[in-house]
Amino acid sequence: MTSNNNTLLNSRQLSKRSLWAIIAALVILALINYKIFTQEQLLANGEVILFELAPVDPRSLMQGDYMALNYDIARVVSQSVNQHSSTQNNHDGLFIVTLDKHRVAQFDGLYNGDALTPTQRLIQYRVRDGSIKLASNAFFFQEGRAADFEQSKYGEFRVNQAGQLLLSNMIDKDFKRI
């Protein structure tokens, strides 16, 4: 290093460093907590929608603390997306579902800006590597509880008006939360 007497930090510069670090930390915490807040709002106020799970082959993909998920509806969405061959390979989009009396979602069609009927809901989806993703394609749980979650038949989501999804619970065939 070249000897340069200007490089000696005086006390004012040191306090400036402290100040900037604290400001940065506060901004970061504010951003993350805002994100947490919006997600909590979605969990608390979002509408419950169930998606039937499709068996993932092999089901033993469970690695102790998470399981891979696949949804029955993803197959239909995928077919529908493939018909619109003009769309890009990896993209985000919206589709429409109707809910039955157990709030299980049935696929209606891809969203093209038409008005929705009262029973219809918007759902966001993403295409990655040719497969459809609804929020998360994995469910995380505590180590050792794999056997309980093998019973799951539906994934419970919270959905807001814009179609944003959060996976909140696993549901068994009797519509009970696991």
């Binding site: 000696l8 930390a25 915490l29 997600q39 990655r128 180590e143």
Partner: protein, 383 residues
Amino acid sequence: MMTQKRSTIWQWFIDGKIEPVNVKAAMIVAYPHPTANKWQLLIANILLYLGVLLLGAGVIFFMAFNWDALSHLNKFAIVETLFALFIGGFYLANRARKKSSLQADGQHVLHDQHNQHIQQTYGCSLANAMLLGASIMLGALLALVGQTYQTGADPWQLFAIWAVLILPFAYIAGFDLLWLLVVVLLNVSLGLYLQSFASVFSFLLEDIQQIAIFGLVNLVIHLTFSLAKRCKWRVQLHFNCPMVEASSLLASVSGFTWLIIWVIFDFNYHYDSNEYVAYYALVYLVTMVSLFVWYRYRSPALYPLTLVLTSVSAAIISLLSSELFETSDTIAAFFIMGIVVVGLTSGCLYWLKKWHQQFDEMTMLTDNNASNSDVKKEGTAHE
């Protein structure tokens, strides 16, 4: 530096300018053994950083094991509190240093102390260890948010956001490990992004293009750090990170070498994308030549030259082998390859040794100039 000093003294001894009895004393004067104080400082630093890393790992395991026992908000509260504690630790460590620097300002500041002070401010220090800890906690917090609300966001986003958010800390600390964390995160994020989005662009990004992107990105990182360090402004101290410079250059040259080897083995005379292949070869050649010229003549350094020579040797070997093994006589091909390898490595070693000597002489000259100017400065200061 140390070996150079030693060999100079050895030279003086050979020339008979130093009595055999005094050689050991001269060596110790030129290169004093580390004092107990220095050892303690080193051990304390190692323990400090190990402690910070282990604490970070511990928190992550604690969360994983008690996933169900803690509610969402409790988990966030724990990690955020630790994050805030690390920031508080930075503030306290900084304040303690402020006091000591205030005391030092009152007295005459020795040159040695001064250097140590910069080291303490921008390198390993308690304050910067706190920032490192805060950065690790931030990653844990982001991962926790991502897993709790299983939104299924693309994995590259986590690493990219993490890298961007710790940028201010890395800048404030101006500290190798933190910048290295940023660079590693950027690379991981880029890799994951290419994995999931390689086909988004109008044309399909082939693997070879992804390697080229890696090479270029790391080259840009290397240039950013080495140029920022050369600038004569205050900010340069925030970018003085030899470890980052060295590792990004290594990553970049490895990427380019991989690229050229791929090009060589994929080269196909009746393939209609020959044009692209020529571009890659050109990019490789231009990069290597400019790296060579820069580090040979503008800012002489042995490490980048070693990398360039190794890369070029690898390219030559693969070019030869792709040509030779197509002939029927494999045994002769192996023989020729063996000879070429021996020739290339000994040639490279010979050059490197020669340059090493030259660079040493140059640094000695500049050192002399620097010390002379220092003496002058001191002289004017005393007047």
